[in-house]
Every structure is written in structure tokens, then in C-alpha cells.
């Protein structure tokens, strides 16, 4: 019975016992010779607390023990920890602090075990801070709050030393900064407010000083290398000892001081800035520039702006070079017509390849640089060279590639690739409708005069154009190509018709190409007086065509025709390849030895211009099939002509070229006329839906609607508006002259 009775422990007695245990712990922490706690020691200490907390009141000492738990820490800190820290400075202080914090955590852990019973019942019941928290709070309130400023400064000082290339104890800093985090007990406020803010400020100051020197001393590439290296190192710093949450803030500070503050000075450095790097094709440096400036707000704006300026200048240089070359060649008269313009297009393609690669690689496909490239090319690609618009130059370039005997010998793959690039350039041309018209004109010539080298390429480029500019853009051209296919089938049918109808006999070989009006460029259609031999041909074909389609009307365009004629000259017979006009003129001499200019003109029923051009080609050019009296170099209306029976040539077959008419003016006029229709249609469409609209808005919507094909001149729109007012489609509002009304 006496064994079951527990002796009551009074406070002083029990606490004396605990004091011994705590002293033992302190000695261990201080590194003094002290044996480790045995399990027996531990159990006795734990049991003592247990007993003192479970005795009947007034001997329940829970509250007193709870208070003494805290006092234990406070006493230890004040008597031992703080003195050891106060006597030390800088790195030594940091080391001591780390040790003290580690020790403190050990102490908290052990005492929490001894006093564990309090956590389970007393603290839980009273909703008091747990033992662990009390312990940590003591350190925070007594040590951290006194020393955190000095600690922060010491840490920042070490960081700056590391920035200067010195070796520092990174693990130490890691441990110190962990204290800031752990002191927060799950919150980052202590880390952020007591350390990070000052660290960021110091970082700004540090890099501001560095940048102000580097910007003066270094070239742009060297500066950027340093900037990139600094950013990398700061990122390393975070990885090694700063908290990860600091990374974006830290990098932002560095980027601001090194890049944002000096962006313009850096980019515009005279011999090494962005312009120079572009000029010298410093791809690696430009890539670095992109990577760096893409990190700062609006940092890419000046880079893309300079890029645009540079590309524009390069393009304008090409324009000027081509202009000068054309002038020089023109003066020397040594050049193939249009060769320099073709070289220009080739160089523009190369320029585009080069800078598109820059956008895709150095500038990582960023939209700002695509936009800059586009705007740059739009500037110089719409300049034109030597009186030819870019639209015309591109069309001519395509023609040169696609026609037989073009000036360049390219593989099929190279042709496809080049055409692809030309179509890409077309996106930059404002006057796409002008390109379409020139292209159509040249396509017509390739198709009708059998000059096209490859059908597949013809269809291929139309596919590309269709993808880029829409079906409406290419529908006429596709119609043209289709017409040629149909024409071949038609010719086959015609030949069958001839063989099945002995009465249908043209008398000579006849090939006819039927063209659909509207697909093809408009051609002059004269009432040429055909020779009897040809009239017969026309009649036979008409009869054939009527068997296929009863309601279509054929219009003959003799200016597009070619003939093969056997010329029986005294020395020998020569086969002449001539136009229908030339053939008609020559056949007049089968029945007349000598004809005057006016006789030829009236018999052929052609205009002066045509007759002059025609007769010049037969009597004043390389092949003088006709003799002219007087024997001058130009045709006049008082001239006489005779068949030159003495003509001969070493070749048995010759082509007599008719000088080409300059079609540029005609094409431009046609396009202008089409534009007027397009503007009218657009205005009517807009006003029909709006009914009432003010002038500025009408102009704006009109430009917007038509911008895909050409850039309407505001003056042109204004003229069309006035014309529509005259034609009673629109009227001005009675009270507001800026307001237009649609008239139904």
C-alpha cells in the first residue's frame, strides 16, 4: 500500500531537478564536457513535469512550468547567446548566429520533449502558443530583432564581395537566410521586409554604379555579355542561397539598372550599337540583344525600331543602286533591257531571305520583328525603279523565270523556291492589282506565243498567289490557263471536223485558239482586211465553231496571230515567220509589184501607227523583205514599197520581229480605270448599308475595304464621291456638308 502512494513534489523541489537537466543540455550546447542524456535521464525529466502537472491543486504547477519554460530560453539567450554574438562582427557574427540558431533549435526540440505533457493538455486546453512556437519566438524577439539589421548588412556585403569575384562561403549565407525564412514560421514577411527589400535596393545601387562605368567603357556587345553574365550569376545566387521567390524581383532590378536605364545609349552606340551589329551581321550579339531586351518592359520596341530602320535603309540602298545602274547602262546602251531591274528583284529576295532568317532565329519569331520587317519592306518595295513600279518589276521577274529562254537557268526546285519568295514579297506591295494586271499581260504572251517553259510551274505559282491573295485575285489567270487547255482540245476537234468534212477546206494549215473574254487582257480588234486565203480560213473555222456552240460570237484578234510564209526570193526560198499583220502586207505584193504607203494603208484598213510600225519592220529593220523609196530609216506617208526579190539570208527559216508596243502605259491606265470602278463600288456598298455617313468615316471604310488590292489615294476617293453625287447615288446633307446620304 505504501508503494502505490506517490509523494507530492513541490514547485521548488521539482524545478531544481529540471534545472539540472537544463544545465546539462546547455553544457552540451556550449560544447563543454558533458555526458549525453541517458534514456533514464530523459524519463526522469519527462516524468517530473508529468507529475507536477497532474498533482491535485494547489500542487498543479502547469502554469508555472509553462512560464518557466519560456524563462529558460530567455535566461540562456541573455546570459550566453547574445554576449557571444555581440562581441563578433561581419562574417564571424554570421557564423556564430548560424551556430546559435542551430543550437537554439536543438534546445527547443529537447525542452519540448521534456515539457511535452504541457502541449498535450494544458496548452491545448488553454489555447496557448505551443512550446515549439514559444521557443522560436524567444529567439526572434531577443536575438533576431536586435541583430537582423547587422546580419542583413553583413550578408549584403558578402553578396557584393561575391559580385566582385571574391570567393565567399555560400553555405553560410544559405544558412543565415534560412533563419530569416524560418523566423517567419511559414510567412515570408520577415525575409521580405528585413532582408530582401534592402538586398534589392543594394543590388540596384551596385549595378547602377557598374552600368554607369560600363556604358562608357564597353562596346555594346561587351556590355551585353557582361549584362548577360550578371543576370546568370544573380540567377545562380538564387539557386545557391537566396530564396527562390527572390528571383523575379532580383532579375528585374538587374535588368532595370543594366538595360532599361541605358537602353537607348546602349543600342545607339556609334560603332557597336544595334545599327552596327545589323550592318556587320553580328548574329550572336543580336540574339543576345533580343534575349536581354525581351526581359524588360517595352524593351524590344527600340530594337525592332532600329531593325526596321536598318532594313529600310538596306532596301533603299538597293533601290538607289538599281537606279544608278540603270542610268549608267542607259548611257552606255550596253545592257539588256530590264536586266538591272531583274537584278534588283533578285537582291530584294536575298535581302528578304536574310532578314527573315534574322526574325526567325535571332529574334525568335517575335511579332514585333515580323511587323518591323513587313513595314520596312513595305516602304522600299513600293518605290519602284527607273520608272517601273515594283508591281511591274515582280511581274517581269516572274515572266523571266517562267518563259522559255529566260536569262537564268534554274533547276525546277530553284524555280519553285524563287516563285514562292516572289509571292511572299508581293504581300508588301500596295498595288497588288497592278501586279495582277502586268502578270496577266505577260502570262497571256507566254501562253499565246508558246513561250511558257513549264505548265506545272505556271499552275504552281497561281496556286501560291491564290493562297496569299485570294481566289478572286487569280481567277482570271486560272481561266487563261484553262482556256489554253481547252484550246488544245478544241484544235483536236477542229482537225477531226476537217477530216470528216471534205467540203470544209481552209486551204492552208490553220490553228485557232479560242479565248474567253474577260479572262484575258483586252486587245485591240481591228477590221483588218484579210487576204482571200485567210478569209477562207476564218469562214471554215466559224462553221466548225457553230457546230459546237450556236450562241457564241467570235471576235478575231489578228494582232495576236502568227503566220509561216514561204518567201520565193531569187537566190533561194526562205521560210518567214511573221505576224498576221505582216503576212497580210506581204501578200499584197503577190498581185502588185509596187505599192504606195496610202495604198497599203487603205487595202489593209489599219491605222497610221500600225502601218508605220508594220512597214518599218519589213523594210527598215534587220530583214529587208521590202524595198522602200526613198531609202530612209523612217516611214513616211509618201513612201513607196516593192518586193525585194534579191533578199536572202544564210538561214532557211527566219523570224521577222515586230517591234513591241510599250504596254506599260496601257496597263497603268487599265488599272486606274478598274480602280475607279472599285472605289465607286466600295462607296456604294458602304453607303447602301449605312444610309448616312460622314466623310471621314466613309473615306476610312473605303480605304479599309480596298486596302488588300491597292492603297486608294484619298483624293481619288474624293473625286469618286463627287462623281457619285453627280450621278445621283449620293447627296450631301442639307445642313451638314460633311455628311453624305445614300439615294436609293
Amino acid at each position: 500500500m505504501s508503494m502505490s502512494e506517490r509523494k507530492t513534489i513541490d514547485l521548488d523541489q521539482g524545478w531544481d531537478f529540471m534545472q539540472k537537466g537544463i544545465l546539462k543540455l546547455k553544457n552540451i550546447l556550449e560544447g563543454l564536457p558533458e555526458p549525453q542524456f541517458s534514456s533514464e535521464d530523459y524519463m526522469m525529466l519527462y516524468t517530473t513535469i508529468y507529475n507536477m502537472c497532474t498533482q491535485k491543486p494547489p500542487h498543479d504547477y502547469s502554469q508555472q512550468l509553462y512560464d518557466k519554460y519560456r524563462e529558460s530560453f530567455e535566461e540562456y539567450i541573455v546570459s550566453t547567446v547574445l554576449p557571444s554574438l555581440r562581441e563578433k562582427h561581419d562574417e564571424f557574427m554570421l557564423r556564430e548566429l548560424v551556430k546559435r540558431w542551430a543550437n537554439h533549435k536543438i534546445m527547443v526540440r529537447w525542452l519540448s520533449r521534456f515539457f511535452h505533457y504541457l502541449d498535450r493538455y494544458f496548452i491545448a486546453r488553454r489555447s496557448l502558443p505551443p512550446l515549439n512556437e514559444v521557443g522560436l519566438t524567444c529567439f526572434r524577439d531577443l536575438v533576431y530583432k536586435e541583430l537582423n539589421g547587422k546580419v542583413r548588412d553583413a550578408v549584403i556585403s558578402l553578396i557584393d564581395q561575391e559580385r566582385e569575384g571574391e570567393q565567399i562561403d555560400r553555405a553560410l549565407l544559405k544558412n543565415v537566410l534560412d533563419i530569416f525564412v524560418e523566423i517567419g514560421m511559414g510567412q515570408m514577411d520577415h525575409y521580405e521586409n528585413d532582408f530582401e527589400a534592402a538586398m534589392l535596393k543594394d543590388t540596384s545601387a551596385y549595378y547602377s554604379r557598374k552600368a554607369s562605368n560600363w556604358i562608357l567603357e564597353d562596346s555594346c556587345p561587351d556590355y551585353m555579355l557582361k549584362a548577360e553574365e550578371c543576370l546568370k550569376r544573380e540567377k545562380d545566387r538564387v539557386a545557391h542561397y537566396l530564396h527562390s521567390s527572390s528571383e523575379p524581383k532580383l532579375l528585374e532590378k538587374v535588368q532595370h539598372e543594366l538595360l532599361s536605364v541605358y537602353a537607348n545609349q546602349l543600342l545607339e552606340k556609334e560603332h557597336s550599337g544595334c545599327h552596327a551589329l545589323l550592318r556587320d551581321d553580328k548574329v550572336e550579339d543580336l540574339s543576345r540583344m533580343f534575349r536581354l531586351f525581351s526581359k524588360i518592359p517595352r524593351g524590344l520596341d527600340p530594337v525592332s525600331s532600329i531593325f526596321k530602320q536598318h532594313v529600310t535603309a538596306e532596301g533603299m540602298a538597293l533601290v538607289k543602286l538599281a537606279e544608278d545602274a540603270v542610268s549608267t547602262k542607259k548611257a552606255e546602251k550596253k545592257d539588256i533591257v530590264g536586266l538591272q531591274e531583274q537584278v534588283f528583284v533578285r537582291k530584294v529576295i536575298e535581302l528578304h531571305d536574310k532578314y527573315l532568317a534574322y526574325v526567325n532565329d535571332c529574334f525568335q519569331n517575335h511579332t514585333l520583328f515580323h511587323k518591323a520587317l513587313k513595314e520596312a519592306f513595305e516602304i522600299f518595295c513600293n518605290k519602284g525603279v527607273a520608272g517601273s513600279s515594283s508591281a511591274e518589276l515582280l511581274a517581269t521577274f516572274c515572266d523571266n523565270i517562267l518563259k522559255k529562254g529566260g536569262s537564268e537557268k534554274l533547276s525546277d526546285e530553284a524555280i519553285e523556291e524563287t516563285l514562292e519568295k516572289v509571292v511572299k514579297l508581293l504581300a508588301y506591295i500596295s498595288d497588288k492589282d497592278l501586279f495582277a494586271e502586268f502578270y496577266r499581260k505577260k502570262l497571256a504572251r507566254r501562253l499565246l506565243f508558246d513561250k511558257s517553259a513549264n505548265d506545272d510551274h505556271e499552275r504552281s505559282i497561281l496556286t501560291k498567289l491564290k493562297q496569299q491573295c485570294g481566289g478572286q485575285f487569280t481567277s482570271k489567270m486560272e481561266g487563261m490557263v484553262t482556256d489554253l487547255t481547252l484550246a488544245k482540245e478544241n484544235q483536236t476537234s477542229f482537225e477531226e471536223y476537217l477530216s470528216n468534212n471534205p467540203n470544209a477546206d481552209p486551204g492552208i494549215d490553220l490553228t485557232v485558239t479560242v479565248l474567253t473574254t474577260g479572262f484575258w487582257p483586252s486587245y485591240k480588234s481591228f477590221d483588218l482586211n484579210l487576204p482571200a486565203e485567210m478569209v477562207r480560213c476564218v469562214e471554215v473555222f466559224k462553221e466548225f465553231y457553230q457546230t459546237k456552240t450556236k450562241h457564241r460570237k467570235l471576235t478575231w484578234i489578228y494582232s495576236l496571230g502568227t503566220c509561216n510564209i514561204s518567201g520565193k526570193f531569187d537566190p533561194k526560198t526562205v521560210e518567214l515567220i511573221v505576224t498576221t499583220y505582216q503576212a497580210s502586207a506581204l501578200l499584197l505584193f503577190n498581185s502588185s509589184d509596187r505599192l504606195s504607203y496610202s495604198e497599203i494603208m487603205s487595202q489593209l484598213n489599219l491605222s497610221d501607227d500600225d502601218v508605220i510600225r508594220l512597214l518599218h519592220s519589213l523594210s527598215c529593220a534587220k530583214y529587208k523583205i521590202l524595198n522602200k523609196e526613198p531609202s530612209t530609216k523612217t516611214i513616211s506617208s509618201t513612201d513607196y514599197f516593192e518586193f525585194n526579190s534579191k533578199f536572202t539570208d544564210k538561214m532557211r527559216r527566219i523570224k521577222i520581229p515586230l517591234p513591241p508596243v510599250d504596254e506599260k502605259k496601257k496597263v497603268i491606265e487599265d488599272v486606274d480605270k478598274d480602280r475607279r470602278y472599285a472605289i465607286d463600288a466600295s462607296i456604294v456598298r458602304i453607303m447602301k448599308s449605312r444610309k448616312v455617313l460622314n466623310y471621314q468615316q466613309l473615306v476610312m471604310e473605303c480605304v479599309e475595304q480596298l486596302g488588300r488590292m491597292f492603297k486608294p489615294d484619298v483624293k481619288a476617293i474624293k473625286k469618286r464621291i463627287e462623281d457619285l453625287i453627280s450621278r445621283d447615288y449620293l447627296e450631301r446633307d442639307k445642313d451638314n456638308a460633311n455628311l453624305f446620304r445614300y439615294l436609293a
Partner: protein, 259 residues
Amino acid sequence: MHKLGRGHRDKLQQFITITGASEKLALQALKASDWHLEGAFDFFYSQPQLKTFTDSRHLEELYNRYKDAYVDMILADGITLLCNDIQVDPQDIVMLVLSWHMKAGTMCEFSKKEFIEGLQSLGIDSLEKFREKIPYMRSELKDEQKFREIYNFAFGWAKEKGQKSLALDTAIGMWQLLFAEKQWPLVDHWCQFLQARHNKAISRDTWSQLLEFAKTVGSNLSDYDAEGAWPYLIDEFVEYLNENGIIQNDLINDSSLKR
């Protein structure tokens, strides 16, 4: 009459001279506007015209006096005779005002309907009354709203039948006639510009907008809106003025003009 003070009598006389109104109407207008001339004009012109009784028989006689021998219309010869009778030069702008009252479709022609209804609206059925009315019609050009109506009427009246535009020479003549009444400082430059740069017919839109331009844009063009909806030709004119440094000269002329 002797009841009126000298100032009032002077104003009454001035009003009658300008408007051709009767003394009774003039007194009424001046009293209504508290003897302010400008107000009196506004009052007078804003009043609906009381239609005076006109004798149809007399109108018929007048018409027959001037009508063409072969066509039931008054043509150039008839108009010349009419001008003789009322003592007005055929080139006088008051003939334009008369044509406006008659709603004449074409210059140098009055249909019977136009002539008779026009004279009725003016309360004229005799040559005497016709002569009395001339000052009134002349004074209508002073009224801004009526001037605008007459100006815009002139376009249709002066252009060739079946045409949409007004021949340039005719337009220039009309502008010189009309702006003699309105004192637009740039009218001579405008006519020179048209002959030098345009040399084509004038559209109705350009015609009517020019009056707005003359009214709303100062002669130094400082308030001209190049982005506005002015007709193309007016934009060109402004460019022409700037190119030739005419604005500077007109700035000087403008300040010296007596308004």
C-alpha cells in the same frame, strides 16, 4: 412725316432705298425692330409676302407683248424688249433674281407659266409696277438665305439643257456676277485658278460648296480643313493659293478691305 425725328427719317429713307418697300411697310419694319436697320431688314424679309391682287388680263397682255412670234415662250428677243421696257441691262444680276422668282428652267427663256406665275408672286401686272419692284428684287440679294437660294438656282438656270455640269466660261461669268454682290476677296484668284488648272465643266456639288467655302473659310485660309469633305477642286485651289504665295498678299488686302 413731320412727326419723325431727323435720325428716324434718315433710317426710313435708307430702308426704302435698299428694299424698295413702301413707306408703310418700311415704318412697320423699323418700329418692330426698334429702329435698328439690321433688325428691320430681318423683320421685313421674314414676313410672308402678302399677295397683291394681280389682274390676269393685264398679265396676259404683258406676256403677249414679249412672247415669240412662233413659239409660245418668251425667248431672247422678248427678254431684251422686256429689259428695255423696265430699263434694266440684260446682264444685270437683277434679271437672275427675276428668273429665280419665275422659277425659270433655262437662261434666256420664260415659259408662259413661269412668266405669269412669277409675276403674280411678285404682285406685278403692269410695267409700272415692274419698274417699282426692281429695287426690291435687287435688295433680296442682301439677304443671306435668299442669296444662297438664288446662287444655287443659278447653276441649273445657267447650264445647258441636258447637261449635268456647268460650262466653265459660263460658271466664271456667273461667279463674277454673283460675288460682285458678296465681296468674296478670292473670286478673281478662283477664276484664274480654274482657267489655269482645271479647264473643265463645274459640277453642281462644287458650285454649291464654293459658296459655303466663301462664307465659312477666312480669306487667309487659316481655318481651312484639308481633311474635310470639301470638293476636290477646292482642295486644289487652296494648294494653288499656297503654292503661289497668294495668301500673303490677300492677308494684306484683307486687312485693308472695308467691310
